[in-house]
């Protein structure tokens, strides 16, 4: 299963301040660890919201463009990873290891990505039935 892991913005990231050299290095090592573990599919950092924009859709079909920056800093996303892991717990376990060298208060959000497996093998009645059959056979042979 896949998760989108989002690092939330803070005053520094919104001000366009780069993290310390040490944090950049630690983050690089962390990303390397994710890659070497075969779990990282993608990951990017985002520019501050001052360089972004929002497109608002109104019920009458009109669209309006609102330029950044946006004020609700803690709700903004400053960077993300796409991780492919076995469980939500595994995603959380990886996130617990994100370096926070600069000791700032920050928050990371974990959201599951919809994909084929959501209605895939584990959930088909056929497989469940088959499993039950196998269990029964195994019990018979035991």
């Amino acid at each position: 299963m896949r998760f989108m892991v989002m690092i939330k913005a803070n005053a520094d990231s919104e001000a366009g301040l780069m993290p310390s050299e040490q944090l950049l290095r630690d983050m690089g090592n962390y990303n390397e660890e994710l890659v070497k573990a075969g779990v990282m599919l993608a990951g990017e950092g985002l520019h501050p919201s001052s360089k972004g924009a929002r497109v608002r859709f109104s019920p009458d079909g009109k669209t309006t463009v609102v330029d950044g920056p946006f004020t609700e800093t803690k709700e903004l996303v400053a960077g993300f990873w796409i991780l492919q892991v076995k469980s939500k717990e595994e995603a959380m376990e990886w996130v617990r290891r994100v370096p926070n060298t600069d000791n700032v208060e920050s928050e990371i959000e974990i959201r599951q990505v919809f994909e084929a497996e959501d209605f895939g093998d584990e959930f088909t009645p056929e497989l469940r039935e088959q499993e039950d059959r196998l269990r029964a056979e195994a019990a018979k042979n035991a």
Partner: protein
């Protein structure tokens, strides 16, 4: 946090740490079986303690320290292994803490240990089935039950397979090391083959009611990506990863609404996973940049990339694909490659030239009993308007396949030929 929550966390930690744990322990005790038992003991200890004490900050280090302590206990009781005690003790400080070392050195060591573990699990003294089970268990972090579920066999079967394999490895007294030079070149293909076999069992299941089991594809991809990180200079490793990423990109397009298979050229390309395609193309570039243009996996990946780059089935560069199959049939000749080459020939130069090659393959009877031979022949005959013969071939193919979904598709194709007006 409830006990169940903690158990889930422990399972996740195990998934992340177990391979490194087993690899590090194997280096010390020189026996994969004992190392895995030690790691399992540490897991049991975590299951006992963490629900009360909470999950430690560095769970991997906790597991390793616990396993090493238990290792020393075991070795103390076993005179046969006495000489290993000193070796084990060297890894521990006076209070049993793991001795500190420079991060980079640890990384290199861990990488070597993991690679050695992969080569051990895929060692030629083991049967292919044993290699697969061991690799999933030791490197993929899958439990015996998970492997059994993936392969639709009782877990007792997998359990026996793994314990027999451990005994075989112990008896063989293999050095725990990464092969080098010619040895590496000779043994790497076996490792890649094990990973690709796992992928393929997920991608086109040989048994069962489902046409695919995507979970196994993910396990294989993860193993392949790990391997690429451990052996970044081996072009074929990147070739294999490229092949798997591109094939996996089609998984959601390969299933119709009722779970029936959808063939490559009929797939809705909007449903392909372009994140995986992008990763596959990057991996293929890497393989080729390392000089791997003629490795069997890189060539297969290049063929898969031709399909991935075509925005519609009609835009497929079949002439280039025929050229790549020509290369493949030189470097890795097999009747199955010939059959695929026949398909490509049929697309590039018309069904008659494809049929000519298929008939030549059929004459050798090398693929007798292989359902795709009559299936491909039926397709070419249908395109040539020889409906009667095509129908017989599809029926024969249906009688040969073990997969229920595929059988239904073949019956449907045979039936479709019977009513050209509804075609």
């Amino acid at each position: 946090m409830t006990a169940t929550d903690t158990h889930r966390v422990i399972e996740a930690v195990w998934r992340i740490e177990s391979a490194r744990l087993i690899a590090g322990l194997t280096r010390m005790v020189r026996d994969v079986g004992i190392a895995e038992d030690l790691a399992q003991d540490a897991l049991v200890a975590a299951l006992e303690r963490w629900p009360e004490s909470g999950v430690p900050d560095k769970p991997g280090a906790w597991l390793m320290t616990t396993a090493k302590r238990r290792g020393i206990d075991v070795i103390r009781r076993s005179a046969r292994l006495e000489d290993k005690q000193a070796e084990l003790a060297r890894g521990l400080g006076p209070d049993g803490a793991v001795a500190p070392a420079a991060d980079a050195a640890i990384d290199d060591e861990v990488g070597d240990d993991l690679l050695s573990l992969i080569f051990t699990c895929c060692h030629p003294v083991l049967s292919t089935e044993a290699r697969i089970a061991l690799t999933l268990r030791m490197l993929g972090g899958l439990s015996t039950e998970e492997i059994a579920r993936a392969y639709l066999v009782p877990s007792a079967t997998i359990g026996q397979r793994i314990s027999r394999a451990k005994k075989t490895l112990a008896a063989a007294q293999l050095p725990f090391e990464v092969p080098t030079g010619d040895d590496l070149a000779a043994r790497l293909p076996a490792v890649l083959d094990v990973v690709y076999l796992i992928f393929n069992e997920g991608y086109s299941a040989t048994a069962g009611d489902d046409w695919m089991r995507p979970g196994l594809c993910e396990d294989a991809l993860r193993l392949g990506r790990i391997l690429a990180g451990l052996a970044p200079r081996e072009p074929e490793v990147h070739g294999l990863v490229a092949l798997m990423e591109i094939q996996a990109s089609r998984i959601r397009a390969r299933l119709g609404p009722d779970g029936e298979p959808v063939l490559l050229l009929e797939q809705d390309r909007a449903r392909w996973d372009y994140l995986l395609i992008g990763r596959g193309l990057v991996a293929l570039d890497r393989a080729q940049a390392l000089g791997g243009t003629t490795g069997p996996y890189a060539v297969q990946a290049a063929i898969a990339a031709c399909h991935a780059r075509a925005r519609s089935a009609e835009e497929t560069d079949w002439v280039q694909i025929v050229g790549l199959y020509d290369v493949l049939s030189r470097i890795a000749p097999s009747p199955v490659v010939e059959l695929n080459r026949a398909v490509a020939l049929g697309m590039a130069h018309g069904p008659a030239s494809g049929l000519e090659l298929v008939d030549a393959i059929a004459a050798t009877s090398a693929l007798e009993g292989y359902h795709l031979l009559p299936s491909v022949r039926g397709d070419l005959l249908a395109k040539l308007g020889r409906a009667e013969e095509a129908r017989a071939e599809f029926a024969r193919a249906a009688s040969l396949t073990q997969n229920a979904r595929e059988r239904a598709l073949l019956h449907a194709r045979a039936a479709g030929l019977g009513h050209p007006s509804t075609g």
